[in-house]
């Protein structure tokens, strides 16, 4: 298939987000501290697949439920601020602390809201780790996985993780060769060039409001 396989992106996006969500299930076990990043991704992926299969509300794309879970549980494992910072790029330096907070909040909402509709797509998917090329002692690694679905090619789904004092944190996701942060960069930069940081915050906020008002997933 030559065109962008959006269907697969959809499913992969679910998993990407879901990896974070799965921590909701295992709140008392912050495995990130000692676990190797690939083992972490693997177990989280499997957890989330199970969780979605079991939870009818999540399958139905319950935005509120998903949002709540993310707010409460995901933050320790995904570095949304770093994601936002990288997506905003050079503009980040000009942004005030308040603007940075607003950007992070709105970008996070956009991502969560967008993917919340994807969970109903998960069926018999399985996650396989691909070979990792990290050295021991690396603080910043790419964990590569394939999602094997019902038919067609495997879905490439990779994660960038950074080691912090609080353990490994995901800060970028690659779906079928497309790094998420990279993909927002041009649009964000263009918006900042035209309307400044506040312009970007405004258009993110507006998009979120549209999504909220529109069809729910």
């Amino acid at each position: 298939m030559r065109n962008l396989p959006i269907g697969k992106i959809f499913i992969a996006a679910t998993l990407a987000l879901g990896v974070s969500l799965s921590n909701a299930q295992t709140k008392e076990a912050p495995a990130a501290q000692s676990t190797a990043p690939d083992a972490l991704v693997k177990s989280l992926s499997n957890d989330v697949l199970d969780a979605i299969r079991k939870d009818k509300a999540l399958q139905g794309g319950d935005v509120a439920k998903l949002q709540k879970l993310v707010d409460e549980k995901v933050l320790p494992y995904v570095n949304f601020e770093k994601m936002t910072q990288l997506a905003v790029g050079r503009g980040w330096r000009q942004a005030s602390p308040d603007q940075r907070t607003a950007l992070t909040r709105e970008f996070r909402t956009l991502l969560v809201r967008t993917y919340s509709g994807a969970v109903s797509q998960v069926r018999d998917h399985q996650v396989q780790l691909r070979p990792m090329r990290a050295q021991p002692g690396d603080n910043d690694v790419v964990v590569r996985t394939n999602v094997v679905a019902g038919r067609g090619e495997p879905i490439q789904l990779d994660y960038r993780l950074e080691k912090s004092d609080a353990g490994w944190k995901i800060y970028d996701v690659n779906i079928l060769g497309v790094w998420l942060v990279e993909n927002y960069k041009n649009s964000f930069a263009a918006e900042i060039n035209q309307n400044g940081i506040d312009g970007l915050i405004k258009s993110l906020t507006e998009r979120n409001r549209q999504l909220e008002g529109g069809k729910k997933a």
Partner: protein, 284 residues
């Protein structure tokens, strides 16, 4: 007869291209910085065609694909998709060979052999269950592998995102497509139409994700296409893009409350993969 139908199709296409501009005039939103990006000097033209494609999809292709999904049961649709996948494996094999990956080419051919027989003319992808991973290759990737850069982004009427290189690739792909060699014109046209509908039907439930995720849908799709194609050319292991995030993320310390500096990634290959480098097994 064949050439007559082809002529009609070409005329139809030309008519559609022409109507693209009629339909899209004044409809596509052209931002003030249009065309300033080095990857997309043709942005203003591209946006018009993109807008036309969006309309063609909304009013024609998507409704047809929805009808197809509603009428045809899922097992049949899976069968149809697998049959087209089986045909595509022929082109995959050819391109893998041209890219100096004979092992992958052989794997593709085995897939065709198995799926065409045991898999009942491709209806079932039994080769996948036997561990033969499906490839995704085309002439655009082959040219890329040979060192041809993508050139400017270029949106094709009806076919969607492409680049100059991939447009030439697409033209070559026609000759690696078994359906191209079907003698019966009606069958050939029918086959190609069904393939388009099948592809679109697979994307139905995903469309709204894209609508929601993007601030600027045109640029979002453009950037995703360019990233993905680059990734495909390198079979999932593209050399790191120097212009990428490290450079932009200068102000790290201020942004990171936990104060951990990220190291330059050492996990991705610095060098361009050479064509006959063995691929880490199921990377695609």
């Amino acid at each position: 007869m064949k050439s007559a139908i082809r002529f009609v199709r070409i005329r139809t296409r030309l008519a559609l291209v022409a109507s693209a501009f009629v339909l899209a005039t004044g409809c596509a939103v052209i931002p003030p910085d249009s065309g300033t990006s080095p990857i997309d000097p043709l942005e203003t033209y591209n946006r018009h065609v993109f807008e036309f494609n969006e309309r063609a999809d909304r009013y024609v292709l998507k409704p047809v694909a929805e009808g197809y999904t509603n009428v045809v049961p899922e097992p049949v649709r899976n069968c149809v998709g697998n049959i087209f996948g089986n045909l595509a494996d022929v082109g995959n094999a050819l391109n893998n060979l041209l890219q100096g990956k004979p092992a992958d080419a052989a794997s593709d051919l085995c897939r065709v052999a198995i799926n065409s027989t045991i898999g009942l003319l491709g209806c079932f992808d039994v080769a996948r269950k036997a561990g033969l991973t499906k490839s995704n290759e085309d002439f655009g990737q082959t040219f890329g592998r040979w060192g041809v850069g993508p050139g400017p982004y270029f949106v094709l009427p009806l076919f969607g995102p492409s680049t100059i290189r991939d447009t030439f690739g697409r033209a070559a792909d026609v000759y690696a497509d078994p359906i191209h060699y079907v003698e019966d014109d009606a069958a050939q046209l029918g086959g190609q139409s069904l393939r388009v509908v099948d592809t679109r039907a697979q994307l139905l439930r995903a469309g709204q994700l894209l609508d929601g995720a993007a601030l600027d849908k045109y640029r979002f799709i453009r950037d995703a296409y360019l990233q993905r194609r680059r990734n495909l050319v390198f079979d999932g292991n593209p050399p790191r893009d120097r212009d990428s995030d490290e450079e932009d993320a200068v102000d790290k310390s201020a942004a990171k409350p936990d104060g951990v500096e990220s190291k330059t990634k050492s996990v991705e290959p610095k060098e361009e993969p050479v064509p006959d480098q063995p691929k880490p097994s199921p990377t695609r």
